[in-house]
Symmetry: C2
Subunit: 500 residues, 2 copies
C-alpha cells in the first residue's frame, strides 16, 4: 500500500479512490519507460469486482510480474477481510537473471504454511511490510523470517514501512538475512533510510545495534506524535501540566520531538493542588526550556458550585465535585486549542484508561492521547530511561530532565485534600500486572490467581474495566505500542454483563 | 447467539466466556430431559480450536441435530471473520415426521448460492436471525426469504431478535411465508411476541399491518434508548433543552419511552439565547409534562472569558468563544449526570455530526446519542409524524406535543447574535442529500453533480466530513437506524488526504 498509505480503511470501498490509484499506477508505469531499474509498486487493485492487495514489478513501462497478498489478517487492529479478497494464486517465482526470487506481502510471511510446500532452493525472498510496531515484535519478525530463509536455503530481504497513520506506528528496521537465518544487514528503526547492497552469497555481516525496550518505546511515541501532527497540519501542541509523572513524560516527549517554540504548557491549579506540584512542574519546564503559564481554576470552580448549589445542596459531596475540576481544566485547554490552533495532547496512561480512573471530557480531553497504550509502571520506566539517555535526534540535549521528586512521590489526582491514587486502586505494580493478564492476554480469573493475585482484586478490576468501556469508546486516538492497545485491537461491548 | 446476546464481540476471544457458554448449554440440555418439545439453542461453539456459530436442536436431553452458520458477514457493522470460522458443512436437512426442514442462520439467507443447489422440494425453511434494524431493510428481508421459499417450494419461518445491544437495534417482526413467497403471518415489530401455528400447507393469510417509515424510525429509537438504559442500569435520563428541534424530538422520544418522573430537562441560556427559544422550550416541557429547570451559563461564560483574557486579548474573537458556551453546558449537564446518576442524552443529529457542526466535549457530551443516525430533515419529519400520532405504547398520550414554532423557525445554535445554521451550511434539504450520496452511498463527485448539486457544495462538504473525523472518533454511542451509521459501519482514517 505504498501509494495509498496503510491502512486506508473504508477509502478502499470508494470507487473514486480506486480510480485515483489506477491513474497514479499508470503515471508511475510511464515514468519507468526508458529505465532498466525494476520498480516495485504495492497498491490495491480491482480485479473481477473484488479488491486485491497487489505487488507489481514494473520495468521499462511494463508490468513484468505481479503477486497478490494471500493471507489477510482479520484480528487485532486488522480488518483486511472487510476489504480484500485473496484469490488462489498460482504465480511462479520471479525469475531474474537465473535467480529464483519469491515475493511475499506482510502477513504472507507470518504463517507456517510453507512447510507443506516443496522444499526447493530459492535465491532470494523479498517481504514487503507495513507491520505495526509493538514492543517485542521485532524478535517475532526475525523468527518468522529466519524459519523461511532456512527452509528454502535462501537469503531474505525484509522491507518495512517507516512512519505512522492514526494509531499505528511503523518502525522500519528493514533487514537482510542470510540463508542461515542470521541478520547480516540491519537498517535504522523509526527513521527512513536508504540502502543498497550487492547480492552475493557471501554477504558479510555488518554491525548490528543493540535495542533497549524503553529506547524503542520512547522513539516509537516520538514518531507517532510527529507523524500525527504533521499529517494533520498541526504545528503547535500544548498540554496541561499537573506536576505528576504522566504529564511530565508527555511534555518530555513533546519537547524532544518538536521545537520548543511550538509547545505551550499550562499549569491549572485549584485549592487542592499542592505547592510541591507547582514546584515540580516549574522545575520540569525549566529543564525542558518551555514556558509554563498558570491559569487558576479556583474562581471558576467556586462559581460553578454556586450556580449548581440549588440542586446540589440536596445531595452529598461525591465524585461530581472532583470531575468538575477536571472538566474545567479540559474546557480551558480546549479553548486554548481552538484559539491557538494547537493540538491538545491528553496525558492519561493505559492503566487509568483501562479502569476508568480518568474524567470523560475532563483530563481525557485532547486530540492525541500519547500514553494511551503505556501502563503506569512503564511511564515511570520511560522517565527513568530518559533521565539517563539523550539520543541524537532529541531536541532537548540534556539528561535528568524529569525531577526526581516527580518519580518518587505518591501518585495523586489532587482533586481533593490528601487524595492518593492508592485510595482507589491497588498499587500500580500489582494493578498493571493484573491488567496485562485481563486485557493484553484475555486470561481467566483462575489463571491470574495462580500467579499469586488476590481474587477480590481481580474481580474488582474486571468490574472497573467493564464499567469504563463507555469512556474508552469516547477516548482520543493514541499510538499503539503493545500487542493489545485500547483501540481497534480490543472491541468489547459497552453493554456487558459477563462476570469473571 | 440467543444465550450470549449479539454481538458479543471480543468476549468471544475469552476462554472463560466460552466455558461459561458450555456450562449453560449443559444446563439447558438437562432441562430438556423428559420433555418431548424440541428446543433450538443458538450459541458459539469451540470446535477443533476454532469458534463456530452453531444452532443445536435439543430433545429429551440429547442434541438431535446441529448446523453452523456458513456465510460470515464482515462488512458494515459486522466483523464475524474476526471470531468465527465456517467449516464446510455437509449437514443433511433435518428430517422430522417425514418432513424436510432446512435451518439457516441469518446471513446464510442473504445469498443466492442456493440457485446452484439441487432444486428439491423442502417442507419448511427456518431462519434464525439477529438482523440489525435499518430503515427499509424489512423489504429486503422479505425479498430474500421469498426467493428461497419459491425456489424450494417451501414454507419459511423467519425469526428475528427483538431488543438492542449498544448501537444495534433488533426490530423483531418475525414472519411466516408460504410456498409462494407471500407473508401469511406477521408478528409485531419492536416488541416481544409469542406465536404458535399449526404447520399446514393451507396456512391462511392473517391480517398484516401497514408500515410507515417514521413510525418505524420513532419506535426503533424508543427501543434502542430503553434497552440501553435498562441494560446499563440507568433509571434516570436528562438532557439540555435549547428550544431547537433536535432537543425537542429527543425529549419527546424520552418522554414516550420512560416515566416522566425519571426525566430531567435543563434549559441553559446565555445572553445569546433568544426569548423565543425559552418560550418554545417551556411550551414543549408543558406539553410533555416534564419540569425544565433553568441554569444560566452567563456568569460562568464571563468568568471564563475574564480568566482567559490575558492570553485571548492578543487574538480575534472566533469559534473559541462559541465553543466555550457549548462546553459550559456540557460541563453542567455532566455534573448533573454524576450527581443524579442520570444518563445524559446528547441531542446532535447525523447531519451535524457528519460535517462537524457540533462541539466536541460540548453539545457532544453524553452517554447515548439518540439521533446520531438521523439526518436533520428526518428529525423534522419525525416531529411532524409524532405531532399527528399517538401509539398505544407511548407514555405521553397526546399529539401536537412539539410546538409548531420549533418546526418552522430557522435552525440556529444561538452561540452568537443572529447566528443561523445556514450561515455556515447549505440548506439542510440540500446538505442531507449530498451527505447521503457521500456517506451512505460512497458516491463520487461526478455522480453527485449529475444529480444536480453544485461542485463547490460537494467539495466543501467532503472537506468538512474529512476534517471532523476526529470528532466522530470521540462521539458517544447511538443507535444505528440507517444502512450507514456513523459508528462501526463507517471506518475512515482521521489522517486522510483523499480529495474528491
Amino acid at each position: 500500500m505504498s501509494l495509498t498509505g496503510y491502512p486506508p480503511q473504508d477509502l478502499l470501498l470508494r470507487k473514486d479512490f480506486l480510480i485515483k490509484v489506477e491513474v497514479f499506477k499508470k503515471k508511475i508505469i510511464n515514468l519507468t519507460k526508458k529505465k532498466n531499474t525494476i520498480f516495485a509498486l504495492s497498491i490495491p487493485l480491482l480485479k473481477n469486482d473484488v479488491i486485491v492487495n497487489a505487488l507489481l514489478l514494473i520495468q521499462s513501462g511494463e508490468i513484468i510480474y505481479s503477486i497478490q497478498k494471500k493471507i489477510l489478517p482479520n484480528y487485532g487492529v486488522f480488518d483486511e477481510k472487510r476489504y480484500f479478497s485473496s484469490i488462489k494464486d498460482k504465480t511462479q517465482y520471479f525469475n531474474y537473471k537465473n535467480k529464483k526470487i519469491e515475493f511475499l506481502i506482510c502477513e504472507d510471511m507470518w504463517t507456517n504454511d510453507f512447510i507443506h510446500k516443496k522444499k526447493i532452493k530459492l535465491d532470494l525472498i523479498i517481504v514487503i511490510n507495513a507491520s505495526p510496531f509493538e514492543i517485542g515484535k521485532f524478535k517475532l519478525r526475525k523468527s518468522h523470517a529466519s524459519k523461511r530463509a532456512k527452509y528454502f536455503n535462501s537469503s531474505l530481504v525484509y522491507v518495512n514501512l517507516v512512519g505512522s497513520q492514526d494509531d499505528l506506528i511503523f518502525d522500519g528496521g528493514s533487514f537482510v538475512m542470510n540463508q542461515l537465518g542470521k541478520v547480516v544487514i540491519q537498517e535504522k528503526f523509526f527513521e527512513e533510510s536508504e540502502m543498497s547492497f550487492i547480492y552475493d552469497s557471501k554477504i558479510k555481516k555488518r554491525q548490528i545495534m543493540k535495542f533497549n525496550k524503553y529506547e524503542n518505546l520512547y522513539r516509537a511515541l516520538m514518531l507517532g506524535l510527529k507523524n500525527y501532527m504533521f499529517k494533520n497540519d498541526f504545528r503547535l501542541a500544548h498540554l496541561g501540566l499537573s506536576g505528576g509523572v504522566d504529564s511530565a513524560l508527555t511534555l518530555a516527549i513533546l519537547a524532544d520531538t518538536i521545537d520548543s517554540k511550538n509547545i505551550y504548557s499550562f499549569y491549572l491549579p485549584s485549592k487542592y493542588s499542592s505547592n510541591d506540584s507547582k514546584k515540580d512542574a516549574e522545575m520540569l519546564s525549566n529543564n525542558l526550556g518551555i514556558k509554563t503559564s498558570e491559569i487558576s481554576i479556583e474562581i471558576l470552580r467556586n462559581t460553578i458550585l454556586k450556580q449548581l448549589n440549588p440542586i446540589f445542596k440536596n445531595y452529598k459531596e461525591d465524585v461530581t465535585e472532583e470531575n468538575i475540576q477536571s472538566r474545567l481544566r479540559g474546557l480551558i485547554l480546549m479553548a486554548l486549542s481552538n484559539k491557538l490552533n494547537s493540538l491538545l495532547i491528553t496525558t492519561g496512561n493505559k492503566s487509568e484508561l483501562a479502569v476508568g480512573y480518568s474524567t470523560l471530557y475532563g483530563d481525557m480531553c485532547g486530540g492525541y492521547s500519547l500514553l494511551k497504550d503505556v501502563y503506569k509502571t512503564d511511564v515511570f520506566e520511560l522517565c527513568r530511561w530518559r533521565n539517563k539517555n539523550v539520543l541524537n535526534d532529541f531536541k532537548v540535549k540534556r539528561n535528568n530532565i524529569i525531577p526526581e521528586k516527580i518519580l518518587t512521590k505518591e501518585p495523586s489526582a489532587e482533586l481533593k485534600y490528601d487524595q492518593k491514587d492508592s485510595d482507589f486502586l491497588p498499587p500500580y505494580d500489582i494493578l498493571d500486572k493484573i491488567l496485562a493478564y485481563l486485557i493484553d492476554e484475555n486470561r481467566d480469573i483462575k489463571f491470574i490467581m495462580k500467579k499469586g493475585f488476590a481474587k477480590n482484586d481481580v474481580i474488582k478490576i474486571w468490574k472497573m474495566i467493564k464499567s469504563s468501556e463507555f469512556k474508552r469508546y469516547q477516548s482520543a486516538i493514541g499510538p499503539k505500542v503493545s500487542k493489545m492497545s485500547l483501540s481497534q485491537d480490543r472491541r468489547f461491548p459497552i453493554t456487558n454483563r459477563f462476570d469473571l
